[in-house]
Structures are given as structure tokens and as C-alpha cells.
């Protein structure tokens, strides 16, 4: 691969040929370049390229937050660092690349063993990239002999026997005949290397061993924390902190860009990988690009030094100028993707002076895209106000219980449940507070009472309803107090680069990829519910919850989704603003269904795999036994059938995101079971088919959503998506990352219509209060009332729109045009006047329709106040729907 890249950069190989090869679907995994005697596999080349870019830029990226590039998800063959620093050391420019390249060819290509990224995964965990361990440029030259073979770690077959042993110990003390895992938590790869021969493996191991020893000496400390698996972020940050942030950063200038030809080639290759879905997670790549854009040079070099560096490193991405150049080019190239980011992100990008100085054109496009952007960070306007689960006489009064005692006990249990919840709210963030110590006994006492009274189904319902109330919304962590909005507002005050830094932090935050301590997989209140279940460890309760979760999930999965018109893809761009009223509603409803399904699926997965969770990966023997044992029983949810069905019915956009949540909870053995293995394989195929740029039946944003959730699932180990046939490797993904959970990014791109925007604060709070009151009104009413109101409003609203379309609009538009022509008043005020008059007429239509609505509801309700309020809400909703349709459509005129 290195040879291929070298050849490309030195223009010995035509870039078009490689790009075409990258674009070619599946069938052409290999690229042979006879004149160079090269054969390259796609699955090798892509990770190689990604790593190459990271290595090249690593110097400039020592700042900022945890670098995703340094997470285990990154294929980062350490050898590259060595190779390139070595190159720098011997000051060979492109002239030397021939021989060097050849040696690499020899190193990597002839072996039929495919050095998949699992190996690089290993390496990144070993943290060879760490600058502390491996000081860059010449400070400690590494001998070629030692550096070359490191890449060979990749195919090392590993066994599960010593999952947590220190890599170093593994390699130095374990006999080769009994290979053991060099990393914790990575699944053995037996059988994964098609045709890997043991001889080459032995060689590699020998070399690896030497290399490891060597490195250990270099590092000095025998067990530096950075050798701990999964700590890269930590060390990266440490390195970063060494570079004083105040240290003046070089101001990047387009004129100082060197090697622009090579950079352009890299941009093209890299962009192709992104466009063709060859990267494990496009959002991580986007983040990397943002990092490059905001990169700083660690030291203030004078110009001479810089160019020297650049010359030595061949492509010179590590230079700030070059980094920014590269980033801007990629952003230009990936504009379609970038344009789908939320408004604020786009604004920050557009206002970035680096973007402006490197590509005014890009800045202009970003500015334009801002206005079109409908993606929002906190999309659904949900009331911030937390409800209890209302007591509903229909389900909760005495007649629903088997005895007075059971009724009375449940009365107490409801109160204890909330008492525990409030206590958790108050104390869980205090140091030293432990859920089980503080609440465990109370919860278990409650469970045993429940068992004697047989109240599990009642409690399960309460529990799930409360879970949904508290965790369904996008703002999962209401306790943090630092809402994304506030964060963004704060950003506006900051200065250019600083803003982007924070944007960068925000971009990485939802990923929260494996760091020293993986981010909580159950953020905010979800943590309470998870801990509650763990403390309760009540099998009856869990069974009731599973039953209910399954039922609700399958129901949600069946929810009818109005698919956009068939021509959606071409109309995509206008669709965003031009969206029909029904469609906007549909989007909102869809996001709400999706968020709910994902939440429920996560908890279903959590409960279902809870009995099998182990803190350490079981040994091979235990695994085999467990597989044999568990394959006999029926899994809680037939995921295969669900997925198959969903694909057949083209509903993957709903099903896949929640399936991903469910599967992310799998235990170590889970992915080895046939049903999950098959599902994961199908998901993989699905992922590879989703090429964003290609206009197919699925619209861009839907694809983006799928790519991001699947990317998240696979991100943990990119090898999975590259070696599609190797289900086993997927294990590694789960092993290393099943608890590292995020899913936040999807929310960033879910398009929904905004309700409250930049209205004045007082007005806004009044509006909010009204929305809260409306929500509160439904709270204590039976759910059927809300459904009725929504249904009626929907019908009335859409009838009104139809009516307007047919009659009023034509007439009014005509009148408006006349008004314009007549030059009455300022031309600018016309559309709004138009709107107002249409709205006025609409209200009459709405009122008429309400007479009908009232009849519907009077069937259910006797109480005049409730009826009147329902009516008013219905009226408001209907009017709002029609008005939003109006403002959306009148604007266009």
C-alpha cells in the first residue's frame, strides 16, 4: 500500500485508475499494477491511507480534545510513523521513494496474509503513535529493521486466553506455538487470515518481539500508563498539554502551502474513500478534517525549518498551512455532506478565517448552506419539564388489582420508586456516592414486596413509562445544566479559532469514543434506570419489562411512515424548505418514533444480555460451551426476521437504528450466536451499499442517518466492514467497544422543523410556558384524548391546506402580485401581509372544521373545561400546521 501511495504521489500511477478502483463496487477488491509489480487490496489500502493522513498530521494535532484518530477504531499501523520519521531522518526526498517503496512492497504486499486493520487496531491500542513514546523527527531515530515489521502485527492470530495481559509481556514471554492476545478485548482472529502461513507469522512475531523490546527500552518506564489498552486519548491529551496552547500558533497562509500537488492527490483519494463509504465512520473523518482545519504547529518554526520538515515528510500535511489546505479542499470536495450539518456548525465554519483565506468560494457556499440548513442540534422541541407517570384510573385503580393488599402495596411502591429517583437526582453526582449502597436495599425490599403481591406488571409499566418520559427526548442529560443551545450561544461570543475548537469538541463529544474511561452508555437519567435494574436484579420484573419492550418495539417498528414522493432524490434540496406540511409533520413524528425505539431497544438489549455479561472475555472453551448452550434457546427478539422484514419492506431507516442500539448491548458471546451473527452480517452488507453520493431510492439524509448509526456500530473495529465475510472479527468490535456508547451524532443531522427560534426571551418564555401547559394538560388525561386531538388537528389542518391550495392561494398570489406591481408600500412587506390575510381566512375555515371536531370529542368527554381546552388545542395545532405550510410556501414566492 505504501508503495501504491508513493507511486501515486510521485505520479507513477494514475490517480484516476486508483479512484476508479476505489469506486468500483465490491467485485474489484484487488488492484494490480503490473508495471510496479503491485497488488493492493482495498481493505488494506483504505486503512493505510487513513493512517497515513493521521500520521502525517499528528504533529499539528497535538492540541485540542481527544483525537478520534487515536482511538482504537483507527487503523493506525505504527510502522508508518517509523517509516516516515525515518524518511525525515535520512532526508530523502521523493528520489528515495523508489527503493523505500520497494522495500515496503516487499514488506506488505507479497504476503497473502491480509494485514487487516485489526492489527492496526492492536497497534493503536499499544499506542505506538504516541508522541511521548515515539518522539517524532529524529529525536530518536528508529532503525529500519525494527520499524518495518511492526506492520506485521496485523494478522497475528491471537487467542483469548490472556485477554488482559500486557501486550509487552505477551510478546516477550509467550511461546509462539501458543499465541496469545497482544491486546485486551480483541477477539481471536483464527481463520480470519485466508492462507496466512505460519512461517511468515513466526517471522513477524520475531520481529515484533524485537520491536517491542526496543520500544520498551525507549520508553524507559517498563509499564507506562500509555501502554494500557484503550488509553490513547489520555496520552494524547497529555502530549497536547505539553504544547503550551498560548504558544503562538502559526497563521496558516495559502501562499505557504507546499506540495499542493501531492495534497490534491491525497484529497482526491481521501474524498473518494469518504464518498464511497470506505471509511468506518464518516463523522469521525469529518471530525478529523475539522481538526486539521484548526490545527496548530506545536512550535513556532521559522519558515526554513518548516519547509525542511515538509520536504522530508514528503506530503507535508503536518504543516499547519498544508493541514488547513488539505482540510479546506476536503470540505470543498465533501460539500454535500458538510451542507447537511446543523446551522450553527455551518456558521462557525463559514466564519472561520482559515476557510475564508483558503477558499472564499467555500465560505460563500457555507454561508448559503446555513440558510438552507434544517438540521439542528437540539431538534425536537420537547418540554424541559419532567413529568411523573400520571395515575390513570383506567389502569391504576383498585379494580386493576387482585386484592386490596396488592393495591395498597403498589400505592406505596409508586411512592418509593419516586423517592429513590429523587434521591438519586440529588446525590448521584456526589463523590463516593454508590447507587447500590444508598438505594440497593430499599429497591430490593420493594422487589420482595412486589413479589409477594404479584405487582410486577404494574411496576413494569410505571418503570417503562417513567423511562420514556425522562429519556426519550434528545436532551438526555438534563442534570448537566449545560444545554447544547447555551453552549452554542456561548460560542458566538468567542473568537474565530476558539469557536471552531469548541465546535470540534462538540463534534467529538457525541462520539465519545473509547478513552481511558468509556463514556457512559446510559447518559443522564438512563443511568438511573440501568442502575435500578441492576440493583433490583429481579427476574420477574425483567421478564415483564422484556415482554413489554418487545411488544412496544415491534409496534413502533410497524408505525406507518409516509414515504416521501418517489422523486424525492432529485428534489432533495428543495425538499428541505419546500416540505409539504404533512411531510414536516411526518419528519417530526418519525424522529420521535426513532428516538423512542432506540431508547427501548437499548434497554431491551441491556436486560436481555444482562444475564450473560461478563467483565472479561470468556476463554475459548467457555465460549464454545456457551455458544452450544445458548443456540438452543429462543432469543428474546428475532432480530433476523425483523431486519429481513424491514429490508423487504424498505423500512430500514427506522429498523436499523434501533437494531443497532439493541445489538450494541450484546455480551461477548452474543455476536457468535447464529442469529446475531447473521444480523450483523446483513447490516454490514447494508452499510456497504449505502454510498451517500449516489442517488438511489433512499434520500440523502436517511442514508446519512444509516451510515452514521452503522458507522458507530462498526467504528469500533473497522476491520469488520472491510472483511465482510469474517463475522468473527466483529467480536473484536464488541469486545472493545460495546460499552462505549454514544449515538449522539444522529441527532445532529435529524432534520426537524424548529418551533422556537430567535424570538425575544420574554416572548419565548411565555411561549414555552404555553407549550408546557399544553403538555401538562394532556398529562393527566387518558392518552386517547391526545391522540384524538392530534388526529382531528391533523385532518382539519390538512383539509385547510387543501382548501387554500385550491382556492385562496391562487387568488391571493394574484392579488399580491398586483400589489407589488402597484408598488403599494414597501415591496418587502407584501408576503407577510399576504400571509396574515391568508391566516385570517384560514382561521375561519379552521373554526368551521372545529364544529366537526367537537362532535368527535364529545363522544369521549363530558367535562366542558376539558372539552373546551381540547378544542382550543386542536384549533391551535390545526392553525399552526396550516400556517407553517403557508410560511414555508409563501416564502418561495
Amino acid at each position: 500500500m505504501a508503495a501504491l501511495l508513493e507511486s501515486l504521489l510521485s505520479q507513477k500511477v494514475d490517480i484516476i485508475k486508483v479512484v476508479d478502483w476505489l469506486k468500483s463496487a465490491g467485485d474489484e477488491e484487488k488492484l494490480s499494477i503490473s508495471e510496479l509489480g503491485l497488488t493492493v487490496h482495498k481493505e488494506e489500502f483504505v486503512p493505510f491511507l487513513l493512517n497515513f493522513l493521521r500520521e502525517q498530521s499528528s504533529q499539528a494535532l497535538t492540541h485540542g480534545p481527544a483525537t478520534p484518530a487515536k482511538t482504537p477504531s483507527r487503523p493506525r499501523p505504527a510502522a508508518q510513523t517509523q517509516v516516515f520519521s525515518e524518511r525525515r531522518g535520512c532526508k530523502s526526498a521523493s528520489g528515495g521513494s523508489g527503493t523505500r517503496g520497494a522495500s515496503r512492497v516487499q514488506l506488505f504486499s507479497p504476503s497473502s496474509v491480509s494485514p487487516g486493520p485489526e492489527g492496526s487496531h492492536c497497534l493503536s491500542q499499544l499506542n505506538f503513535n504516541n508522541l511521548e513514546e515515539f518522539p517524532p523527527v529524529g529525536s530518536s531515530p528508529i532503525s529500519p529493521a525494527a520499524s518495518k515489521p511492526t506492520r506485521r502485527i496485523n494478522p497475528t492470530p491471537v487467542s483469548a486466553e490472556r485477554p488482559h495481559s500486557k501486550p509487552k509481556t505477551c510478546f516477550t514471554s509467550t511461546p509462539f506455538s501458543k499465541p496469545s492476545s497482544p491486546l485486551s478485548g480483541v477477539e481471536p482472529l483464527e481463520g480470519s487470515m485466508t492462507g496466512g502461513n505460519s512461517l511468515s507469522l513466526q517471522e513477524e512475531r520475531e520481529l515484533l518481539k524485537r520491536e517491542k523490546t526496543k520500544r520498551a527500552q525507549q520508553v524507559g518506564s517498563p509499564q507506562p500508563s500509555s501502554l494500557e489498552p484503550c488509553t490513547p486519548t489520555k496520552t494524547v491529551l497529555k502530549t497536547g498539554s505539553k504544547v503550551t496552547p498560548e504558544h503562538q500558533t502559526t497563521c496558516p497562509e495559502p501562499s505557504k502551502v507546499t506540495f499542493s500537488l501531492e495534497l490534491d492527490l491525497l484529497v482526491e483519494l481521501y474524498s473518494t474513500c469518504i464518498s464511497e463509504n470506505l471509511v468506518p465512520n464518516i463523522f469521525l473523518e469529518l471530525f478529523f478534517v475539522m481538526q486539521l482545519l484548526t490545527s496548530r504547529s506545536p512550535h513556532t518554526h521559522d519558515d526554513e525549518q518548516e519547509s525542511l520538515c515538509a520536504a522530508h515528510s514528503h506530503s507535508g500535511v503536518q504543516l499547519v498551512h498544508n493541514c488547513v489546505y488539505f482540510a479546506v479542499k476536503v470540505l470543498e470536495n465533501q460539500f454535500q455532506l458538510v451542507a447537511h450539518l446543523d446551522k450553527c456548525t455551518l456558521r462557525l465554519l463559514a466564519e472561520n478565517e482559515r476557510v475564508a483565506s483558503f477558499s472564499p468560494h467555500l465560505r460563500d457556499r457555507l454561508t448559503q448552506a446555513q440558510d438552507k440548513s434544517t438540521a439542528k442540534v437540539t431538534e425536537l422541541y420537547l418540554s424541559t419539564f419532567i413529568h411523573s407517570v400520571p395515575f390513570q384510573p383506567d389502569t391504576d385503580n383498585r379494580s386493576n388489582f387482585s386484592s386490596d393488599k396488592a393495591f395498597h402495596i403498589f400505592k406505596k411502591q409508586r411512592d418509593i420508586f419516586y423517592e429513590v429517583l429523587r434521591e438519586w437526582e440529588d446525590f448521584h453526582k456526589e463523590p463516593g456516592w454508590s447507587f447500590d449502597t444508598a438505594l440497593g436495599n430499599r429497591i430490593r425490599g420493594m422487589m420482595s414486596q412486589m413479589t409477594s403481591a404479584g405487582n410486577h406488571s404494574h411496576f413494569a409499566r410505571l418503570f417503562l413509562k417513567q423511562l420514556i418520559q425522562m429519556c426519550k427526548g434528545p436532551r438526555v442529560n438534563s442534570t448537566s445544566g449545560d444545554t447544547p443551545d447555551a453552549d452554542l450561544l456561548g460560542m458566538l461570543g468567542a473568537e474565530g479559532l476558539g469557536r471552531l475548537k469548541r465546535l470540534e469538541e462538540r463534534l467529538i463529544q457525541p462520539h465519545g469514543v473509547v478513552g481511558p474511561c468509556p463514556p457512559p452508555s446510559f447518559p443522564g437519567y438512563q443511568e438511573f434506570f440501568r442502575d435500578f435494574l441492576q440493583a433490583a436484579s429481579c427476574c420477574q420484573l425483567n421478564q415483564h419489562l422484556q415482554d413489554s419492550l418487545c411488544q412496544q418495539l415491534l409496534q413502533l417498528d410497524e408505525v406507518s411512515i409516509l414515504s416521501p414522493p418517489a422523486s424525492i432524490c432529485e428534489r432533495e434540496e428543495e425538499e428541505e424548505e419546500d416540505g409539504d406540511m404533512e411531510q414536516q409533520d411526518e419528519k417530526q413524528r418519525f424522529s420521535s418514533v426513532l428516538l423512542l425505539a432506540r431508547l427501548l431497544a437499548k434497554f431491551l438489549g441491556f436486560i436481555s444480555f444482562l444475564p450473560y455479561q461478563t467483565s472479561e472475555k470468556p476463554s475459548r472453551e467457555i465460549q464454545d460451551t456457551a455458544i452450544a448452550l445458548r443456540s438452543k434457546s429462543v432469543p428474546v427478539l428475532d432480530v433476523c426476521a425483523v431486519l429481513r422484514n424491514s429490508m423487504r419492506r424498505r423500512r430500514t431507516i427506522l429498523t436499523v437504528p434501533w437494531l443497532v442500539e439493541f445489538l450494541s448491548m450484546l455480551d461477548f458471546i452474543g455476536p457468535l450466536l447464529l442469529c446475531y451473527r447473521t444480523t450483523l452480517g446483513t447490516l454490514l452488507l447494508l452499510y456497504r451499499r449505502l454510498v451517500l453520493g449516489r442517488c438511489e431510492e433512499m434520500c440523502y439524509l436517511n442514508k446519512l442517518l444509516m451510515v452514521s448509526v452503522l458507522g458507530w456500530l462498526f467504528q469500533i473495529n473497522p476491520s469488520f466492514f472491510i472483511h465482510s465475510g469474517e463475522f468473527r472479527k466483529l467480536l473484536a468490535a464488541f469486545v472493545s467497544g460495546s460499552t462505549a456508547k454514544s449515538g449522539g451524532i444522529i441527532r445532529k443531522i435529524t432534520p426537524t422543523s424548529a418551533e422556537l427560534k430567535d424570538t425575544p426571551a420574554a416572548h419565548r418564555s411565555q411561549q414555552k410556558l404555553q407549550v408546557d401547559l399544553e403538555q401538562a394538560f394532556f398529562h393527566n388525561q387518558p392518552p386517547s384524548l391526545r391522540r384524538t386531538v392530534e388526529f382531528v388537528a391533523e385532518r382539519v389542518g390538512s383539509n385547510a391546506v387543501k382548501h387554500m391550495k385550491a382556492t385562496l392561494v391562487n387568488e391571493l398570489v394574484g392579488r399580491g402580485e398586483k400589489m407589488l406591481r402597484d408598488g403599494l408600500g414597501s415591496p418587502n412587506s407584501n408576503p407577510s401581509k399576504l400571509n396574515d390575510s391568508i391566516c385570517a381566512q384560514l382561521c375561519d375555515a379552521g373554526l368551521e372544521a372545529l364544529a366537526r371536531a367537537t362532535r368527535y370529542k364529545s363522544l369521549f368527554y363530558k367535562c366542558p373545561a376539558v372539552l373546551a381546552t381540547s378544542e382550543n388545542i386542536t384549533k391551535r395545532l390545526a392553525t399552526e400546521k396550516a400556517c407553517s405550510w403557508l410560511s414555508a410556501n409563501i416564502t418561495g414566492n
Binding site: F385, I386, H387, S388, P390, F391, P393, D396, N397, R398, S399, F407, H408, F410, K411, R414, D415, F417, Y418, E419, R422, K757, D758, T759, H763, Q767, L769, Q770, D772, L773, E774, A776, F777, H779, N780, N828, S829, P831, S832, L834, N835, C839, A840, C843, L847, C863, P864, A865, V866, T869, N872, I873, K875, R876, T879, E880, C883, S887, I890, T891
Partner: protein, 295 residues
């Protein structure tokens, strides 16, 4: 001003420590704190006095102590048949007069037929002293009951009436404001397991906080009683009906009103700042969308 700071409340409590539950004592308290309403002061005193009695009652309620009180009563009543000897005895030993009457009557009835008198007999005699076979004791019991502002059937009756009065007052205010609600009785018939005084059929916002239910308390909200109410009532209401409002008609310690954001709002009167769902015929359109239209 019925919303007291904890310090103010403490100062009043300090003054109540030496007082007896008599009209004279209430007057002393009122003169000392002229800016506070009599009801508030009485309520605070009553709560404090009850605490005091709870603390000390076991000291009085031991057989030989009871016997000594009874013997003292007998001898003093014999010496001065018309004097309120029992009331004086109660004040002397710092026991609630009404409770003293109960203890002595209980002892008297035991002496009459040897067995333990039933509670209902005892209660009815306390309520209606003329039923007591002994005329002098009947007079003494009566004097104790009417001179105790914290315990006894009369006080219970007054408290009940006041509580009821405030509930009625609350309902009237709600009707005045055109707010539709369900009351406790209605809720019970629907099978609710815990019932606040009022549930609003259409919630309102008070000082920016959503209110689903209202509980009326014709007493002063001090630390202890509020804590008890929270645990036994208010949180239970929240757990079932969402956020709500508690009206302590006789005031409360201001610092206790700290759960507003969690859904328990305290007031010492019927709120004035009430926002209801308002549905204008034409929905206000945000300036944002209007600007958009102008583009």
C-alpha cells in the same frame, strides 16, 4: 407577611417555649410580635406546643403519676368545688389541660366500674361533659376543654372547621377564576389512591410553574410538618399528578419553598399570578417567521 424566614420563625419559637395554651399566653405572644397575624402565631404556637407535649407526655402518662394527679384533683376539688382545679393543675405541671382532663376522667371511670372504659365512651364524655356522672368533674373537664387552644374536642372541631373553610374558600376562588377542577370526593369515587384537595382539570401556571393540583393547609408550614406532609402527601401527589401547589394559609418558613423546580410550589394565599392556556383566535406568529416571509 406570612412567609417567615427561618430566623424569624426561630425567634417566635423561642418565645413560645415558656407559654401555656391559654388565651392569656396567646395575648402575650401577639403583643410581642404585632406584625404577624394572630392565626399565624397561634398556628406556630400550636405546632410547638404539640411538639412539647409529645416530648413530655410519657412523663405524665405513668400509673403512679396519674394516681398522684387524681388524688390531688380529688382533694382540691373537695376543698374548692367551684374552682377550676384541674385546669390549674394542668398548667402547673405543664400538661395540656385537655389531656389532663382525659387522664383524670379515664382514671375516674376506672374507679367507677373497675374495668377499662371504652375509648368511645371516654371521647363522648370529653365532647359532652354533661354525660359525666360526677358534676364537679364534669365542670372541671369542661373548663379544661374550653381553655386549651391546642388539644381537645373543641380544638379538633375548630381545626376541622377552619380546614374546611379554607377548602371552600379555595374552591370559590377557583370558580371565580373560571378554573375547572375535581375535588377530593370526586377523585375518591374514581378510585384514586391518593387525593389532593383539588385537581385542576386544565392545568395552570403559577409564577411560571405548572400546577396540576392544589393542597390547602390551614396551618403554618414549619420544618417538621412540611417534611411530614412532603413525604406523606405532596410527593405522592407529584408522583401521580405531576407538579402542584400547596397553600399554607397561615404562612410557612420561606426557605422551605425550594422545590419549585421539582414541582412543589408553596404559597401563603391564593395566587394572583395565574397563567392559563390562552388560545388566541389567530396564533401569534413569531417575529422570526415573519422576517422569513419578508425575504
Amino acid at each position: 407577611m406570612m412567609r417567615l424566614s427561618r430566623a424569624e420563625h426561630k425567634e417566635i419559637v423561642r418565645w413560645t417555649e415558656k407559654l401555656r395554651p391559654t388565651r392569656q399566653c396567646m395575648k402575650i405572644l401577639k403583643d410581642r410580635f404585632p406584625s404577624h397575624s394572630q392565626s399565624t402565631l397561634l398556628s406556630i404556637f400550636s405546632l410547638e406546643y404539640q411538639k412539647r407535649i409529645k416530648r413530655t407526655f410519657s412523663r405524665h402518662h405513668v400509673p403512679d403519676v396519674i394516681e398522684s394527679y387524681y388524688q390531688r384533683y380529688l382533694s382540691e376539688a373537695k376543698a374548692q368545688p367551684t374552682a377550676p382545679v384541674l385546669l390549674e393543675l394542668a398548667n402547673e405541671v405543664d400538661l395540656s389541660p385537655a389531656l389532663m382532663a382525659r387522664i383524670i376522667l379515664d382514671r375516674f371511670l376506672q374507679g367507677q366500674d373497675g374495668g377499662m372504659p371504652s375509648k368511645s365512651v371516654l371521647n363522648s364524655m370529653l365532647k359532652e361533659p354533661s354525660l359525666i356522672p360526677d358534676q364537679i368533674l364534669a365542670n372541671n373537664v369542661y373548663q379544661c376543654t374550653i381553655n386549651d387552644c391546642c388539644y381537645g374536642p373543641l380544638v379538633d372541631c375548630i381545626k376541622h372547621a377552619i380546614g374546611h373553610e379554607h377548602e371552600v374558600l379555595l374552591r370559590e376562588k377557583l370558580k371565580e377564576k373560571n378554573l375547572s377542577f375535581l375535588d377530593e370526593n370526586h377523585l375518591r369515587t374514581m378510585g384514586y389512591d391518593k387525593t389532593p384537595d383539588i385537581i385542576l382539570e386544565v392545568p395552570v401556571a403559577v409564577e411560571g410553574h405548572i400546577v396540576h393540583w392544589i393542597e390547602s393547609k390551614a396551618s403554618f408550614g414549619d420544618d417538621q410538618s412540611h417534611r411530614t406532609y412532603l413525604n406523606e402527601q405532596f410527593w405522592s401527589y407529584w408522583n401521580r399528578f405531576g407538579p402542584g401547589l400547596v397553600i399554607y394559609w397561615y404562612g410557612f418558613i420561606g426557605e422551605l419553598d425550594c422545590q419549585r423546580d421539582r414541582g412543589i410550589l408553596l404559597k401563603d394565599c391564593f395566587p394572583t399570578d395565574i397563567v392559563t392556556l390562552c388560545h388566541a383566535t389567530q396564533q401569534d406568529r413569531s417575529p422570526e417567521s415573519q422576517n422569513k416571509d419578508k425575504e
